[in-house]
């Protein structure tokens, strides 16, 4: 039986990896930013915690200011919507994630707020997990390649918040 959803789990894991990738000092910040969710269409509908973003680059710009993140895909479901002749069909994906943030006091580009030198470890010190809901509209072209501009809508909402976290949402 042909399963139209067979490649979605791998796709989701790949796009979450782009949200979590670490910045390497040998690369330019512009290159790093452009590698965050490159699967977004440049004028995608992007809603993060209820706030809209006009374009992929604006979203990437802001995501790069976050501390290092770590996402895990917990569960997901998807449906393939027939769009009509002449257009690719589209997946609607509803996924549950958990995410945690580096609480070592620096963002992913290495900026920190310390005015006195502190002996800090380089590895992230992750705080407690948050829960998140990810909703995507994705073109079925992902069955040919995961690295194409295929996400026309991304809605990311943090739905569960731990009490003992340094990190505010």
């Amino acid at each position: 039986m042909n399963d139209p959803t067979s490649k979605l789990e791998q796709f989701l894991k790949i796009i979450l990896e782009t949200l979590d990738q670490t910045y390497v000092t040998t690369q330019t910040t512009e290159f790093y930013k452009s590698s965050i969710l490159p699967q977004l269409i440049s004028q995608s509908r992007i809603i993060i915690n209820g706030s809209p973003f006009g374009s992929r680059s604006q979203f990437q710009e802001l995501w790069a200011t976050l501390p290092q993140t770590q996402h895990q895909l917990l569960s997901f479901d998807a449906q393939l919507l027939p769009i009509g002749q002449g257009s690719n069909n589209q997946y609607v994906i509803l996924a549950r994630l958990k995410v945690r943030f580096d609480e070592a006091g620096k963002n992913r580009l290495g900026d920190c707020a310390d005015l006195v030198p502190l002996d800090k470890v380089n590895r992230p010190l992750y705080g407690p997990w948050f829960g998140a809901c990810l909703n995507l509209i994705v073109d079925e072209m992902i069955n040919n390649s995961y690295n194409c501009e295929c996400i026309s809508s991304l809605d990311y909402r943090i739905t569960e918040k731990p009490d003992a976290s340094l990190f505010n949402i």
Partner: protein, 636 residues
């Protein structure tokens, strides 16, 4: 760097064995709790102590029997042991039922119960005297010289002195004092004092702390409180020997949000706030434009009302192409304990860690990260009203409270141009109020294999009724007669978590990051102001005055003005014989092109067919041929 220095400092601080034993005894005495046990007198005192030890692994100390009251009074080492012991209350012993109670849960009165109430009152009075509600400041400076405490003997012995501060903090917690600042200066605190740990239990959100003029010499004093004071902003340590050492960096590291240490700014506060904040402003509601706000709020309120009260009436929103699926995820990210209602009746306390509570959902849950077989995946995707009605019946009856408590919900609505529709994503909670109308196994039994025994488990379809959280996604398109059609419906069920994550902060942030981009469309956030106050559970498509019908008249994401004229509204219905030959997408395309071009239905159908039902191509073909079209090609 500080590690070396702290090891050096630590080397001079070892205690001799006698001191260690004294410290251990002192620590033990600090936390002793008195308990009383009744219903034991058919056996000896020693038998009872042995029995308690066997059953609970708790050793009763300082045991004294009071034969007049029938109580056996003793002490346990700490509050945890006391709580554990309390759970054994009701156990049978020597033909009788043991009743256990905690006499002194602060530990301050030791074994002298008669003083307990008086001592607690003294502590309450002291707290009141030292608390300033306006500045949210608790001034605990120089407590050993406080007349009230001294005159009541709270520092008369080392035993009462050591119990005093934990008891005070326990009371402060119970009193739920709003405290931002605490002054613990001049209290002869040394490196072994546990005041900071006790303080962190009572006031974990403390912002300012003064520890001036004590005898703190080592970093370990603070390191015991690592990860405790996550909001501490200012710390005063002047007058402590530690300020003469070079461990300032170590102190700053213990308190990740510390900005000021002894008057010196040690971190850039704005930068720190930015680093520890999700850079994306939080809004509980997002609607791409006012039309979508109106349409989606009407849809959600009416849909959820009918989902709760007349679920099967919703089926008219689902066509043969409509899809529905659900899945649940048992992962617990934030712990909650809730009262649950068993299907047999009666409430009981339940930890959300139970996985047996998902029984009603197990059969058809379509978690694609778990269900990998293509056949199973497809079997759990329900298409068309008939199949969807079966799965609707198999889900518990529910109660959403979006009308009464919109703050418990969060909604994002965006346009879905491919189908000229909208996507609504809603997050929130509901109560399960009754078992499913028709719990059933819709899928054929799985093939025989090692998992088969689980699938044959008769308990699989039983579940408990609980409060749950959910996320749900709808793709909604306008129907041919002015109603809505649900093209896609996906439901994700989760253990209950509160609305803390998406509830907007009451205080608006003072600054927005300069890099925050402008919104691409009108933002309408805030409470669901568009939700009608009453929504009758009536069929959506046929009742005049239904809020959804009003909403659909504005539901055209590509309409320049956002509204459709009455004439256009009238034209939004295709004759049944035409509609029956077209799928939903084609119907929408015909209506859209009729609206855009003002062509008649006949010419619109021709244009659509010649353009392979492609909207953009139809537009190009229309533009290139409109000069040659006869007048009768257009609507009158």
């Amino acid at each position: 760097m500080h590690r070396g220095s702290s090891r050096g400092g630590y080397g001079g601080g070892y205690m001799n064995p006698q001191q260690s034993i004294q410290r251990a005894n002192q620590y033990q005495n600090e936390n002793v709790i008195t308990v009383e046990i009744y219903g034991w007198q058919r056996a000896s005192q020693q038998d009872l102590v042995n029995f308690i030890s066997r059953k609970t692994r708790i050793g009763l100390q300082n045991v004294i029997a009071d034969h007049n009251s029938g109580a056996l009074r003793g002490t346990v080492r700490n509050k945890k042991e006391a709580d554990d012991l309390l759970r054994a209350s009701g156990i049978q012993f020597a033909g009788d039922t043991l009743r256990i109670k905690i006499v002194d849960d602060t530990g301050i009165a030791g074994t002298n119960t008669s003083n307990t109430i008086n001592t607690i009152e003294v502590l309450k009075t002291f707290l009141r005297n030292r608390y300033d509600i306006n500045s949210k400041m608790l001034n605990l400076e120089n407590m050993s010289q406080d007349q009230l405490l001294v005159s009541n003997g709270l520092f008369s012995s080392s035993a009462t002195s050591s119990k005093f501060f934990p008891a005070l903090m326990g009371l402060a917690s119970k009193e739920k004092l709003a405290v931002d600042s605490v002054n613990l200066s001049n209290n002869k605190l040394n490196d072994y004092s546990k005041y900071l740990v006790e303080l962190s239990h009572a006031f974990p959100d403390l912002k300012n702390l003064a520890l001036a003029n004590n005898n703190i010499t080592k970093l370990e004093f603070f390191e015991r409180s690592k990860n405790k004071f996550l909001k501490l902003r200012e710390l005063v340590l002047s007058g402590n020997p530690i300020m003469n050492s070079n461990v300032h960096a170590g102190i700053i590291k213990v308190f990740p949000r510390l900005i000021v240490l002894d008057g010196q700014i040690v971190r850039d506060e704005n930068k720190l706030n930015a680093i520890y904040s999700f850079s994306f402003p939080k809004k509980s509601m997002f609607f791409e434009n006012p039309d979508l706000q109106k349409a989606s709020t009407s849809f959600i309120s009416t849909y959820l009302n009918m989902w709760d009260n007349s679920r099967l009436d919703l089926l008219q929103l689902y066509t043969s192409e409509s899809q529905f699926s659900y899945h649940y995820d048992t992962a617990h990210i934030v712990d909650q304990t809730l009262p649950t209602h068993s299907s047999q009746g009666g409430y009981h306390s339940s930890s959300v860690h139970s996985t047996a509570t998902w029984g009603y959902y197990m059969t058809n849950s379509r978690n694609l990260s778990r269900v990998s077989a293509p056949k199973q995946r497809m079997a759990r995707l329900f298409k068309g009203p008939e199949n969807i009605s079966q799965v609707f019946r198999s889900l518990p009856k529910t109660k959403h409270s979006i009308l009464e408590h919109p703050e418990l919900y969060s909604v994002e609505t965006i346009s879905f141009p491919s189908l000229n529709g909208m996507q609504i994503v809603i997050h929130g909670e509901f109560e399960e109020v009754a078992a499913p109308e028709q719990p059933q196994q819709l899928n054929p039994p799985p093939q025989k294999g090692r998992h088969n025994r689980y699938n044959n488990n008769p308990t699989q379809n039983k579940g408990t009724l609980e409060k749950r959280s959910f996320d749900r996604s709808f793709i909604v398109v306008p129907g041919s007669n002015g109603s809505f059609i649900v093209a896609s419906d996906m439901l994700l069920l989760k253990s209950y978590a509160s609305n803390k994550a998406f509830l907007e902060d009451p205080i608006v942030a003072t600054s927005t990051p300069t890099s925050t981009p402008p919104p691409p469309a009108t933002i309408n956030s805030g409470p669901l102001s568009g939700i009608p106050s009453t929504t009758a559970p009536s069929p959506l498509a046929s009742v005049p005055g239904n809020p959804l019908l009003g909403a659909v008249s504005n539901f055209s994401t590509n309409s320049p003005s956002g509204t459709i004229s009455p004439q256009q509204q009238q034209q939004q219905t295709l004759p049944p014989d035409i509609a029956s030959k077209l799928n939903i997408t084609q119907q929408q395309l015909v209506l859209k092109i009729m609206s855009d071009t003002r062509l008649t239905l006949e010419f619109t159908l021709m244009l659509c067919e010649q353009s392979n039902w492609n909207y953009e191509l139809a537009g190009q073909n229309f533009a290139s041929s409109k000069a040659n079209l006869p007048p009768q090609a257009y609507q009158m």
